[in-house]
Amino acid sequence: MNKPSIVIEMKDIVKKFGDVIANDHVNFQVEKGEIHALLGENGAGKSTIMSMLSGIYRPDSGSILINGRHVMVRSPKESMALGVGMVHQNFRLVDTLTAIENIILGETNDKWRGASWRKKKQKEIEEIAEKYGLNFPLSVPIWQLSVGEQQRVEIVKTLYRGADIIIFDEPTSVLTPGEVEQLFLTMQELRRNGKTMIITTHKLKEVMEIADRISVMRKGKMIAQMLKEETTIQELANLMVGQEMAEGILIQPVEIGAPIIEVKNLVVRTDQGIHAINGIDFAIHEHEIVGIAGVAGNGQKELAEALTGLIPWKSGEIIFNHKKLVNPSVSELIDKGIAHIPENRMKSGLAGSLGVVENLLMKSYRTEHRAKFGLLNKKANIEWARNLIQQFDVRTPDLLSPVGQLSGGNQQKLLFAREIDLKPKLMIAVHPTQGLDVGATRSVHEMLVHLRETGSGVLLISEDLDEIMQLSDRILVLYNGKINGNLKRGQAEKEMIGQLMAGVTNQKGAFDESKVVV
């Protein structure tokens, strides 16, 4: 018993989604009774591998051993039976039911469901909650509980179902700092009781606070595994973002031109009233690609939405083409020359059930070339669409087949064709290569560089640091809605950006723990 035994061993796991390799021969081990942090950026493959452990996905190849036994986890139910429970980032609770009802939901053992049975169950649940110091109201509908309390219900649910190994998927992303503290106390309590825990996160400070051992993933690969004592925040930041530069296209140095857009002291609030963008200043010039680096959820989405007119901003100024924008509508900004490659092309960029022509028309159907007196120029539009897909090399069976059936790369090229055809002064590209294969990624990069050469400004928001570093003339690091670093091309090292992304404010010299903001 003294020697720690390996409770989870994942060997050589491969998982592909279409052409994208989410997990590339990943090996992962967890020892009994430890808190194991799985660290990595969004899209590094953490969630995928945890989903395979909890039976949501199945690996394409590789094997999973739990307590030294080969197992096949085919459903969350089976993983539960193996003693593995997962606390999801988005809780799996029924809002209108009470905590107790949620916990016993799906129980199939007992036929008798009378009052005495309920009482017995309530007692069992209360005992578990008490044992681990997890307090929450038992008989109140879930929607009346705070987020932290809901998470505690989730934890008790996994414990009640007999979990010895608990996976926490980004558990702190929804919590307030106080609730994070309490969660960590709970986790320590669970560890004292012999439970094994895996926590996926991209927050370095939390890793150093709670974890015993740390595994780092990057771009689908397992990069390193070490004990907490053996490492530092700086090292983890470097491992997470990587050192090597992918070979890419060459960018010719060009003199930047006049400013296209100037953002002054911009504040943007979310629907909940939180300041997602909290007073930022920057400008984008002609012939310039400005990259926004940052961990997801630090204000990127809101920045893109404000600049495209999708949401209003609270205060500050945006000056576009030397004119101040006042409550601009989306169509006004399209007409002024702002193009937009939205985050999720099928969700917000294209209409999957419509054909190529109709998708290409989306931004330009108001112009005189495409429609006169309110009537669409059908023939001219088909000819125009045919030229565009030829020019941008969009492979489609014909102009009418639904674009939802095209490959991701072709969809993105179609989207770029539409936006570049507007001859934009400013292009706002959000995660433009997400989910694309190497070839399509390259074409997207070429198109962005082409825009820069022809005099447009580009705002590139991406989680892929290689991409940002390769293409950007200037890199702004967004952290907590503020710009936490402004670096020129060549001046930026990956290591430094990684630390700025993690909230370190001190650019050069020693790492200053006190300046890390949670």
Binding site: R69, H70, L82, V330, L354, A371
Partner: protein
């Protein structure tokens, strides 16, 4: 290991080696972009006829004879055909109305109420302006009918756009408000004093009636309805506005990113939707009933939902589907004499809608080979 784990009782093939090949190497895969073609409505009608045939058999009758009789009743004589068309006119107009709302995923099930308001609006002209020059009546009545229906549609659209109130609920509830308003008018306020106990207004004068076609009950409302089909079909396929609606229906988020304002379109579309149903109501009082009366609509506004979906929301196809459903209603009358209840034709309509919805859903699935 001292600890006996709680999952020892699970012993069924957890070992990788036990992976058995599946007996059937195929599975169904759902693809939201695959939709059924024209054959889905036809097949659903066929399946619905078979389902209802079982009930006919249970009633001790021969379904083939019943269906033949229904067909003959609806389409077998010039009287039958004209009656079928008379029923098809309001169905077609209400169907066009709900279809345009459904195209942008606004679930207007309030065509019944909008139809009633149209009938009330048209009748109001005859009540409040009794001394107009004769030629002015019909245009004014039709315009008032359309306007009343459109305003009734707005009552649904405004809460939806400003307070996110679900239009499904408001449009349905407004049907009952409209029905109670109709009943108040025909029993109380506008009741014909010379009409003994009949719940209706005074009969319209000939100037207040639409011209009939031939010597049947068929009236020139048919021309208006066909005209509405052509105009709507043109608007939806050829104009910028039609393109905006198409985009809103296909992907509202992408449409928003393209600068199209959903709320503005909901208001416009619900006014058109209600206006078309109101048009139908105005035509029904001035073309068929000749007065506003209790039970002016046998549920045209609800039946129109089936008309719209059978035609896959295509205006031209709705000419066919409204005739078909109209024929079903007329044919239903003719088999009553054979002992089938009148509700048989409603049951058939319901079965068709049921099969249609399941058919559309099922046609998204494709059989795929598992490698």
């Amino acid at each position: 290991m001292s600890q006996k784990s709680s999952y020892e009782h699970i012993s069924v093939d957890l070992k990788v080696d036990n992976r058995k090949p599946r007996m059937v190497p195929y599975k169904f895969e759902y693809n939201p972009h695959k939709k059924g073609g024209w054959w889905v409505p036809l097949l659903s009608i066929f399946v619905a006829l078979i389902i209802c045939a079982v009930f006919i058999l249970l009633n001790g009758m021969n379904p083939i004879i019943i269906y033949t009789k229904m067909f003959q009743g609806a389409f077998g004589s010039s009287f039958g055909i004209s009656e079928t068309i008379v029923k098809a006119i309001p169905l077609l107009l209400c169907g066009l109305g709900v279809a345009i709302a459904y195209r942008i995923a606004i679930w207007n099930i309030g065509a019944e109420g909008q139809f009633l308001l149209g009938a009330i609006g048209a009748t109001a002209v005859t009540i409040f302006l009794p001394d107009l020059p004769g030629a002015l009546y019909i245009p004014l009545m039709l315009i008032m009918g359309i306007a009343a229906g459109a305003i009734w549609g707005l009552f649904t659209a405004l809460p939806r756009t400003y307070f996110q109130v679900n239009e499904l609920i408001t449009s349905l509830m407004l049907n009952y408000v409209a029905l109670l308003l109709l009943n108040y008018l025909v029993y109380e306020a506008w009741r014909d004093p010379a009409g003994f106990n009949f719940a209706g207004t005074t009969e319209f004068t000939p100037y207040q009636m639409l011209a009939n076609i031939g010597r049947t009950r068929l009236h020139i409302g048919l021309v208006f309805a066909l005209f509405a089909v052509a105009v709507l079909a043109f608007m939806l396929t050829k104009t910028r506005w039609g393109y905006e609606l198409k985009l809103l229906g296909a992907n509202p988020i992408a449409a928003k990113n393209a600068g199209i304002k959903m709320n503005k379109h909901i208001l416009i579309v619900m006014m058109i939707s209600g206006g078309l149903a109101g048009f139908a109501g105005a035509i029904e009082v001035s073309g068929v009933a000749g007065r506003l009366m209790y039970g002016i609509s046998p549920g045209y506004g609800y039946t129109a939902i089936i008309v719209a979906w059978l035609a896959k929301l295509n205006p031209w196809a709705m000419i066919m589907t409204s005739l078909f459903i109209g024929g079903l209603i007329v044919g239903g009358y003719s088999v009553q004499s054979m002992g089938l209840p009148l509700s048989f034709s409603s049951m058939l309509q319901g079965a068709i809608l049921f099969c249609l919805i399941s058919g559309e859903m099922i046609s998204g699935y494709r059989l795929k080979k598992i490698n």
